[in-house]
Amino acid sequence: MVIFGIDLVLLISALMISATPVLLAAIGEAVVEKSGVLNLGVEGMMITGAVIGFIFAVNTQTPIYGFISAAIAGALLSVLFAVLTQYIMSNQVATGLGLTMVGLGLSALIGKPYEGIKSPTLSKIEIPILSDIPILGPMIFSHDAIVYFSVILVATVAFVISKTRIGLVLRAVGENQEAAHALGYKVVRIRFLAIMFGGATAGIGGAYISLARVPQWTEGMTAGAGWIALALVVFASWKPWRVLLGAYLFGGITVLQLNLQAIGVAIPVEILSMSPYLVTIVVLVGISLFGHHTAPGSLARPFHASQ
């Protein structure tokens, strides 16, 4: 299927790959924010995941070990944030920004010897029967494991948040921390776990950039994906399926504008380059104009169980 010189199958297939890092980071951050914590360190956790994942994958020549270690690295970095904000009561905004800077610096330092090396990549998993469907098959059912994982993760998060007791408690803690505490829920413990979950998914998201999308290590290679993830969570009104929609929209326009640049459309490159950011924001703002989509009531408010 080729329209205006752009192959739709390739486009959709490429957009899923392009969107996966942001999607993984954003779905984790959505959980963190649902619990009432604002972690602005997503970019830092992603880049740390990218470099650690790369190092482990290169040394073991097994990409999956890279992803596992990236998840652990992201989660460990987020523990730093969790301890500072939940126990020492430091300011969440400042601590999150600090985390990003720490991540960027640390990754540049430990990634230095690995520049210019190619990483082992993930193999595609063709899903039996489904991948044989014409057009849809190669478009959607012929990807690597992490792409499937990210979609399954969104579905799981959506289900857990809206349909299970754990999800209900998580929302309660984020909505009204004093009330949750009064009912006997462990506000700090729940938030701590949510922050670690967010760290782990950001780490995997980062590793997907260095192990699948690019696949090599360059300093600062996440290039703002963490900030896009943060913005997506807000514009998606903290709803998991909208996070997926926003991430795919962003990924789609990124891929599309690259294609347009390649075929030489008469639109200035600068406008094409900014279009993913613009269109994603416009669409999600449009969606969020309908109905009420208020932020979790206790978002970014420090909690101390005194009295």
Partner: protein, 507 residues
């Protein structure tokens, strides 16, 4: 002889610098409504938090039935048959009724089954409640129903109620009392915390009175006068505000056709509000919070601007003026939320005095703050309004709620405003301080000012106001002379109907 359900023996609990509970002992029998009485800070909340497992006593013991009882967390207390209805802050606005109830239960059934159960139980107790409704959109009475149903679904032996009637309309109070008496008939015990003495005399079988953390007495409320109980609580007698008859002057504040669309999702829009207040008059605006009270205050204070002629002072249109411009012509407001709205929490009392002062008084011609003057003003507020604070440099947030309230009211009243608007002047303030605040509002009015008091406390409004109206659902009733209103009239007004048949409109 009824059997003992809960026995407290020598319970003590200290916080840094204060002994919240000191050797408190009493017992609650099965099928008894037991009142726990005391001023703010007497230690009632700390005590019930220990029974509910939110805190543990430093020393002393509790017995539930014949077993030792020391819940380490609320879920343990709930498993032992203790349930609690909180005064505020235990509901989640953005969640629906069924989800809110599930959060307060130990082993909630599936939401579907729970919803059906909520409907059956709520109907059988005469407290109808839709399980799918968002809690943020419920009235105060309905919100309390959510908490009560949440407790009832767990079949508790002891139900703790913390100031349950402070936010209810008279009709809702009646329904609540019927429910409580029915629960008592079923053999359940109720620990009822309140400082409304008449209520306690009506429904409680026994009362324990706390003062400064100690148990100072107990009584059978039916056989004791409200005055006697009140003196046990306070430890001294205090005078109620006295009102002089005042002659009203000309119309000072006039609001006409005021309509505002609220920006808060859980707020209430105002529609077509009209009233006027004369020199020397105190207008009381009753009604349950959340019916447009905050919106009305922000329109009057100038936080929310309207078309100029909507609000007039001495016939001068001020609807477009900003808060500081309104203060400059003598109009002042004290909002309900003390921390963060009426006062900046992290700033000192001196700085908080500065932010609402007339600029001529506190800033010289070169724009430098005259801190000596501000300090002098702050000193006056603190001494005249008996604000208890270690120094004037303490942050507003470090004061207790009642003290900060006295500071905020004092700060505005000492500026001798011509028009003073106040929302919930005595919320969370103990009886002696409340009496003082009410007296100073009365004094202000006798000095040729016009005052608007917005309050949920009807007793307060009837004590100090000359005219009375009700704000329900963003609409305001006509104002009536308080002396001409019967309690039945007030019920009608609170229900949103107007008393047209009588038409003794004072405007």
């Amino acid at each position: 002889m009824a059997e003992v359900l809960l026995q407290l023996d020598g319970i003590s609990k200290s916080f840094p610098g204060v002994k919240a509970n000191d050797e408190v002992s009493f017992q609650i029998n099965s099928g008894e409504i037991h009142a726990l009485l005391g001023e703010n800070g007497a230690g009632k909340s700390t005590l019930v938090k220990m029974i509910y497992g939110l805190m543990q006593p430093d020393s002393g013991s509790m017995k539930l039935g014949s077993e030792n009882f020391r819940p380490s967390e609320p879920s343990k207390a709930r498993q032992s048959g203790i349930a609690m209805v909180f005064q505020h802050f235990s509901l989640f606005d953005a969640l629906n009724v069924a989800e809110n109830i599930a959060l307060g239960m130990e082993n909630p059934p599936r939401l579907q089954d729970l919803s059906e159960k909520i409907e059956t139980v709520s109907k059988s107790y005469g407290l109808p409640l839709g399980p799918k409704r968002l809690v943020g959109q419920l009235s105060a009475g309905e919100r309390q129903r959510v908490e009560i149903i949440r407790c009832l679904l767990q079949n508790p032996k002891l139900l703790i109620m913390d100031e349950p009637t402070s936010v209810l309309t008279p009709n809702e109070v009646k329904t609540l009392f019927e429910t409580l008496l029915r629960l008592k008939g079923e053999g359940k015990s109720i620990l009822y915390i309140s400082h409304k003495l008449e209520e306690i005399r009506k429904i409680c079988d026994y009362a324990t009175i706390l003062r400064n953390g100690k148990k100072v007495g107990s009584c059978i409320p039916r056989d004791t006068s409200a005055k006697q109980i009140g003196e046990m609580m306070v430890g001294k007698s205090f005078s109620s505000p006295s009102r002089k008859t005042r002659a009203f002057g000309e119309e000072l504040l006039k609001v006409s056709n005021l309509s505002i669309r609220t920006k808060d999702f859980f707020g209430t829009s105002l529609s077509n509000i009209n009233f006027s207040v004369r020199v020397g008059e105190i207008l009381g605006i009753g009604g349950v919070a959340g019916n447009g009270q905050d919106e009305l205050l922000s329109a009057l204070s100038g936080e929310e601007k309207t078309s100029p002629s909507t609000i007039k002072i001495f016939n001068q249109p001020i609807g477009k003026l900003a808060p500081d411009e309104r203060r400059a012509i003598g109009m002042r407001a004290a909002p309900e939320e003390r921390l963060g709205h009426a006062a900046a929490p992290a700033m000192t009392l001196i700085e908080n005095t500065l932010i609402t002062s007339h600029s001529e008084d506190v800033i010289n011609q070169w724009g430098i703050i005259k801190f000596d003057n501000v300090k002098e003003k702050t000193k006056d507020i603190v001494s005249e309004f008996d604000v208890r604070t270690p120094t004037l440099d303490n942050a507003a947030a470090s004061l207790s709620g009642g003290n900060l309230q006295k500071f905020v009211i004092g700060r505005e009243i000492l500026q001798k405003p011509r028009v003073f608007v106040v929302n919930q002047p005595t919320w969370g303030v103990d009886a002696a301080a409340a009496a003082f605040i009410r007296q100073s509002i009365l004094n202000l009015a006798s000095n040729d000012s016009a005052v608007v008091v917005i309050s949920q406390d009807l007793d307060e409004l009837f004590e100090i106001c000359d005219t009375f109206s009700v704000l329900t659902n963003g609409r305001m009733s006509k104002s009536h002379d308080v002396r001409s209103l019967s309690s039945e009239d007030v019920g009608l007004l609170m229900g949103g109907s107007d008393l047209d048949r009588k038409s003794h409109d004072t405007a």
